[in-house]
Symmetry: C2
Amino acid sequence: MCTFFGGDAAHPLGLAIAMATQRRRNGKGIGKGIGKANPAEDEAVYQAILHALLEGKLKAGVKLAEPPLADIFGVSRERIRKVLHRLGAERRLEMIPNRGARVPRPTLDDVRSVYEAHRVLEAGVLTQLVRLVDEALIEKLTAHLAEERAAATRGDRAASVRLSGAFHVHLVEALGNAELTRFLADLLSRSSVMVSVYEPATDSICAVDEHGAIVEALRARDVARAIAVSREHFLHVESRLHLDDDPAPASEDLTSVFGAMKPKRRKR
Amino acid sequence: MCTFFGGDAAHPLGLAIAMATQRRRNGKGIGKGIGKANPAEDEAVYQAILHALLEGKLKAGVKLAEPPLADIFGVSRERIRKVLHRLGAERRLEMIPNRGARVPRPTLDDVRSVYEAHRVLEAGVLTQLVRLVDEALIEKLTAHLAEERAAATRGDRAASVRLSGAFHVHLVEALGNAELTRFLADLLSRSSVMVSVYEPATDSICAVDEHGAIVEALRARDVARAIAVSREHFLHVESRLHLDDDPAPASEDLTSVFGAMKPKRRKR
DNA sequence: TGATTTAAAAATGTGCACATTTGGCATGGC
DNA sequence: GCCATGCCAAATGTGCACATTTTTAAATCA
């Protein structure tokens, strides 16, 4: 059932390969010449790893060593190092001193914690939203519901998952508060990593009706009902969480994960 | 009125100076000798700068250049650099490419956004809390109220400010959700920086009664009332926000801010 | 054979030497 | 007198050469 996934738009992978190819080859000989200023390069590597993480291509527990990544992306090791530490600061990677970076292996409690946080947050959001709700918002949400339903009947599971998460994003964004929006995005990105372990997205769509009930309560400006429905919705999702029995050895081969990008040179 | 300030306990400044003094002096001559592994050193510098930020010693807009900081703390520039970038990733410092780090200068809207986020979050927290509230929690909160009142009558403004923030921390912590607790801590730390610009803490205590009303509503398990009171409380605070007319040139002298710590050697 | 020790290889962490960029200041032109 | 331009000092960014630590493998011993 509904695994919430943040709605990222552009896929900067193409950008990554473009920048990787255009790297200069400097004679490594005597020439001490160095400092190259390319801020886009950092960003491209960052986005590539982040996307691999969000798309679940990087399985939980996988080690992200610096040398192979530097080789794959065709950049210096410190470049990789900086990105890895940044992802660690954002709590998207687990950094252990002297032992490198790993994709976090969340416990079941961690997952529950994230879902509960989302549930509590949305209760607050709805409380505030009933004060601001207008026809335009209702229409927007209704249109979104139609999209969800369409994807569901069409059997497009990927779209269903995406739209299901987007619904909740629409709710917070309606408040127009950057802090709250960021917080939700944080929760969603974290939950997306968990999918690979506790895949709650086994059976198909079930959320559309519940989402519709929330919109209905909003239209009626019935705070209590909106919160109650939202709560039930989340508890419903949480109850479906289960440990994936077959941990799936998790392909340790980073090259296959980032294989799409063409580095200066591969392994040799 | 009540400026919320996260309840930090230990003051790792002593630690910082201790580590600064015990730094080795290596002959800077030919000896290429290098790599020293001291994880506590990073942490000490990080905590020192963070605390200066949270305590408002670093005024908004101040430039945090690497060389002087490296000199003050007696560590290498890259050490400082790493810490600065980390603080930037946490959005506590404003990082501009090729132009270094500055203490952020939040707009009035930024401040309002933070307070609004706290307000919305607390609405959600209270919604969940009325389901879990028990005698133990009520007693704990009541005891806290007594502390607040004591500090107020005693005229201890610093304690009042600290306890006022701690009250809201107690509320989220009661849920036992790490994500939510972290989010609140984030909001509080951000608002503390804003105090230096829009000091909302001009007049003394006013929150104790409002805090008491929240506890009262919790005891009665009256969600609507709890949220309403909380909301009023926050709006009350927000309404007192005002732009500080006299921006106070902001002592650009970093040495005076971090003067407490004894480096290997000062300016010379 | 299995567990322990030891040595080699790989990976992480850090200071340093640069290159690049920015900011300030003086000089010169209008 | 004021703005534009060029130059110089300072600050930021980055690759590299190490040291340190961890991990892997081999070798030794019980």
